[in-house]
C-alpha cells in the first residue's frame, strides 16, 4: 500500500530543499550584513577583523557592534515571525500578530514610563554611536518595558480565562487592553519635556543597535524555547487549524494548548520588543509569506516562518544602516517599506495559494 507515498516523499524533499536553501541564504545575508556599515570598512578588512586581524577599532566594530547586531536581527526576526505564526494558529485569525495581546502597546508604555518619568530623557536610546554607552543603566528601560508587557499578557490571559479562551474574546480583550496602554502613553507624553518626549519616541522606533551579546543570549533562549514548543506540539497546532471543536474531538486539550502557546509567543515578543523597541510588520507578514510558500503544516511552516523573519529583519537593518549616511533609519519603518511590496507581489502573483485569490 504505497499510495501517495511517492508524492509525499517528493513533497518532503521539496520542503527540505526550501528550508535548506533559505537557511543557506540567511547565513549568506548575515555575513554580507556583517560587512556593511557606516565605518566604510572593506570586505577584506571586515573579514580580517572577524578573525582578529587588522586595526583594534576594526576588530571592535565587527566584534562588539556588528556581530551582536546581526545576531539580534537573526533572533528577533525569527522570534517575532514565529510568535505571529503561533498567534494566528491558536487564535484562528489571520490578522493576529505578536502584538495582538497588546504586548507592544504595554512595552511602549513601560519604556515611556522609564524614560519620561525616571530618566528625564537622559537615558541613551542607543540610536547612534556617539551616545552608545551614555545611558545610566542600559537595561532599566528594557526591564520596565518587559514588566509591563508581561503584566498585560497575564491580564489578558486572565480576562480570557473567564470566558474559557474563545479566540474572538482573546483578540478583543487584547485590543481593549492595548487601547488602555496607548491612552496612558499619550497622557505620559502630554506631560513630558521636549527631550523626554523625543527620547521616548525614538525608543519606539525600534533599533537593533541596542543589542549586546547579553541581550542576544536572552532573546535566543526564549526564541529557542518557542521553537521547541512549536515543533513538539506541531501536530496539535495542525489540528487546531480545523477549529476548536474538531481539535477537541481529536483529543487535543485546546484550552491548555492555547494558553501555553499565547504565553510563549507573547513572552517572545515581549523580550524582543523590550530590548529592541517596536519592530512591526515582521510578525504579521512573515508567517503569511511562509504559509504561502509551504502550506500550513507546522512542521514546515515554523522553520520557514522563522527564516523569513530573520532574512527580512537582516535586510531591513542593513538597508537602514546604509541609507541613513551615518545614522541608522528606524528599522521598523524599513521592514515595512521592504516587506510590504514583496508581500503584495506574493499576494497578487502566481505564488499565491488559492485561499488568497
Amino acid at each position: 500500500m504505497d499510495i501517495g507515498t511517492d508524492t509525499a516523499k517528493k513533497r518532503k524533499r521539496r520542503c527540505a530543499v526550501i528550508i535548506a536553501v533559505m537557511a543557506a541564504v540567511t547565513v549568506l545575508i548575515a555575513f554580507a550584513c556583517l560587512f556593511a556599515g557606516s565605518s566604510n570598512m572593506t570586505v577584506k578588512e571586515s573579514l580580517g577583523a572577524l578573525f582578529g586581524q587588522g586595526t583594534a577599532a576594526g576588530i571592535r566594530i565587527i566584534r562588539n557592534i556588528r556581530i551582536p547586531r546581526v545576531l539580534a536581527a537573526l533572533i528577533a526576526g525569527a522570534g517575532l515571525s514565529l510568535s505571529g505564526l503561533i498567534m494566528q494558529t491558536v487564535l484562528n485569525n489571520p490578522m493576529a500578530s505578536p502584538s495582538t495581546l497588546g504586548v507592544s502597546n504595554a512595552a511602549v508604555f513601560g519604556a515611556n514610563l522609564s524614560i519620561i518619568l525616571f530618566a528625564g530623557g537622559f537615558l541613551s536610546t542607543g540610536n547612534n554611536l556617539q551616545g552608545y554607552m551614555a545611558g545610566a543603566n542600559p537595561f532599566s528601560t528594557s526591564l520596565t518595558a518587559f514588566v509591563f508587557s508581561s503584566l498585560s499578557v497575564l491580564l489578558i490571559l486572565g480576562l480570557s480565562k473567564l470566558r474559557s479562551f474563545r479566540p474572538g474574546v482573546v483578540v478583543l480583550a487584547g485590543i481593549g487592553v492595548g487601547a488602555v496602554w496607548t491612552a496612558l502613553t499619550t497622557l505620559l507624553q502630554f506631560y513630558a519635556t521636549d527631550v523626554g518626549l523625543s527620547a521616548a519616541v525614538i525608543w519606539t522606533f525600534g533599533d537593533l543597535g541596542r543589542a549586546t551579546y547579553r541581550t542576544d543570549a536572552v532573546m535566543g533562549a526564549v526564541v529557542a524555547a518557542g521553537l521547541v514548543f512549536s515543533l513538539v506540539c506541531g501536530w496539535r497546532l495542525n489540528a487546531m487549524s480545523g477549529g476548536d471543536e474538531t481539535a477537541k474531538s481529536l483529543g487535543v486539550n485546546v484550552d491548555r494548548l492555547r494558553f501555553i502557546a499565547l504565553l510563549i509567543s507573547s513572552i517572545m515578543t515581549a523580550v524582543c520588543v523590550s530590548f529592541l523597541g517596536i519592530i512591526g510588520f515582521v510578525g504579521i507578514i512573515c508567517p503569511h509569506i511562509a504559509k504561502k510558500l509551504v502550506g500550513s503544516d507546522h512542521r514546515v511552516s515554523v522553520p520557514v516562518s522563522m527564516l523569513t523573519g530573520s532574512m527580512l529583519l537582516l535586510l531591513a537593518d542593513t538597508l537602514s544602516r546604509s541609507l541613513g549616511s551615518g545614522t541608522a533609519l528606524p528599522v521598523g519603518a524599513v521592514t515595512s517599506l521592504l516587506g510590504a511590496p514583496f508581500f503584495m507581489f506574493i499576494l497578487l502573483g502566481r505564488f499565491g495559494k488559492e485561499e488568497y485569490r
Binding site: W235, S241, G242, G243, S249, L250, V252, K353
Partner: protein, 259 residues
C-alpha cells in the same frame, strides 16, 4: 451496548458571571449498539448538537452519565475519549493541510509527539479504503464538498473509535454527494461494526439510512426505536407538521400535507 446515556442534564450559562442557566438537555436517556446507525431527529434548538458535543466531551454536562463501551466518558482524558468517540463536524475547515496530513491529525490521540509506523500505516490504509488515494497529496481546500466530507470521515475513522458522530453531514451537499456520504455512514456501521450517531434534518434521508431513530423534544428523547416508530403522529408531535407517510418496497416516504 456501545453507547449508554442516562439522565443527562445540560445548561448553557448566561449573564456576566454565568450564574443564570439556560437548560438544554433535561434528563435525556439513550442507548445505541455497535453496527447500528442511530438518527437524531428534532426541531432546531432542541439540543441535538449539544447532545453530540456532550458525548464528545466538547461540552460538559451538569449531571448524568455517558458510557462508551461501559466506560465513563465524562471522566476520561481527552486522548482516551478520542480513541472511543470521533466526530465529523457540520462545518469542515482544515486550513491548508493536504489530505494525508489532515487524516493524520486523527491519529493525535494514538501517537506520542510524532506519528509512528503504525500511525502512517493506519492513515494509508484508510485513505486507500475511502478511495482517496489519488488525492492524498492534494490540499483539502481544493476538494469538492463531498470529497471534504470523505476526508472528514476518514479522519474520524482513523481514530479507530467505537462510536462515530455526525452533525448534519448532508446539510450543504448536492444529491449525489449526499448519496455518497450516506453510503459511507452505512458502511462504517455495517463493515466496521462502529456505532454511528447522526443528527439529520432531512427526514426522508433519515428513514433511508437509519436503523434506530431518536425523536428529541425539549431536551429529552420522547420516542426511540426502529423504522416502525416513524409515524404521522410522532412527526406531528415533534415538528408540529401534518404529514402523510407512504410505504413502498419497505421504504417510508414522508410527505407534508400542506404545500
Amino acid at each position: 451496548m456501545t453507547l449508554q446515556i442516562k439522565d443527562l442534564v445540560f445548561s448553557y450559562r448566561k449573564g456576566f458571571f454565568g450564574v443564570r442557566k439556560q437548560p438544554v438537555l433535561r434528563g435525556l436517556d439513550m442507548e445505541l449498539d455497535a453496527g447500528e446507525v442511530g438518527i437524531l431527529l428534532g426541531i432546531n434548538g432542541t439540543g441535538k448538537t449539544t447532545l453530540l458535543k456532550t458525548i464528545l466531551g466538547i461540552e460538559k454536562p451538569e449531571s448524568g452519565s455517558v458510557l462508551i463501551d461501559g466506560k465513563d466518558a465524562l471522566k476520561m482524558k481527552r486522548t482516551e475519549r478520542a480513541r472511543l468517540a470521533s466526530y465529523v463536524p457540520q462545518i469542515i475547515d482544515f486550513g491548508e493541510l493536504t489530505v494525508y496530513d489532515t487524516v493524520m491529525t486523527g491519529r493525535i490521540s494514538h501517537m506520542g509527539l510524532a506519528p509512528g509506523r503504525s500511525d502512517r500505516e493506519a492513515v494509508e490504509r484508510i485513505i486507500h479504503e475511502m478511495g482517496l488515494s489519488g488525492l492524498s497529496e492534494t490540499s483539502v481546500e481544493r476538494l469538492s464538498g463531498g470529497e471534504r466530507q470523505k476526508v472528514a470521515i476518514a479522519r474520524a475513522l482513523v481514530q479507530e473509535p467505537r462510536i462515530l458522530i455526525f452533525d448534519e453531514p448532508t446539510a450543504n451537499l448536492d444529491i449525489s454527494n449526499e448519496m455518497l456520504v450516506a453510503g459511507e455512514i452505512r458502511k462504517a456501521a455495517r463493515d466496521r461494526g462502529v456505532a454511528v450517531l447522526v443528527s439529520l434534518h432531512e427526514i426522508n434521508r433519515a428513514a433511508d439510512i437509519g436503523d434506530r431513530f431518536f425523536f428529541m423534544k425539549e431536551g429529552r428523547i420522547i420516542a426511540a426505536g426502529g423504522r416502525e416508530i416513524i409515524t404521522e403522529e410522532i412527526i406531528k408531535e415533534v415538528y408540529g407538521v401534518e404529514t402523510d407517510i407512504f410505504e413502498s418496497d419497505g421504504r417510508k416516504i414522508i410527505m407534508r400535507k400542506e404545500r
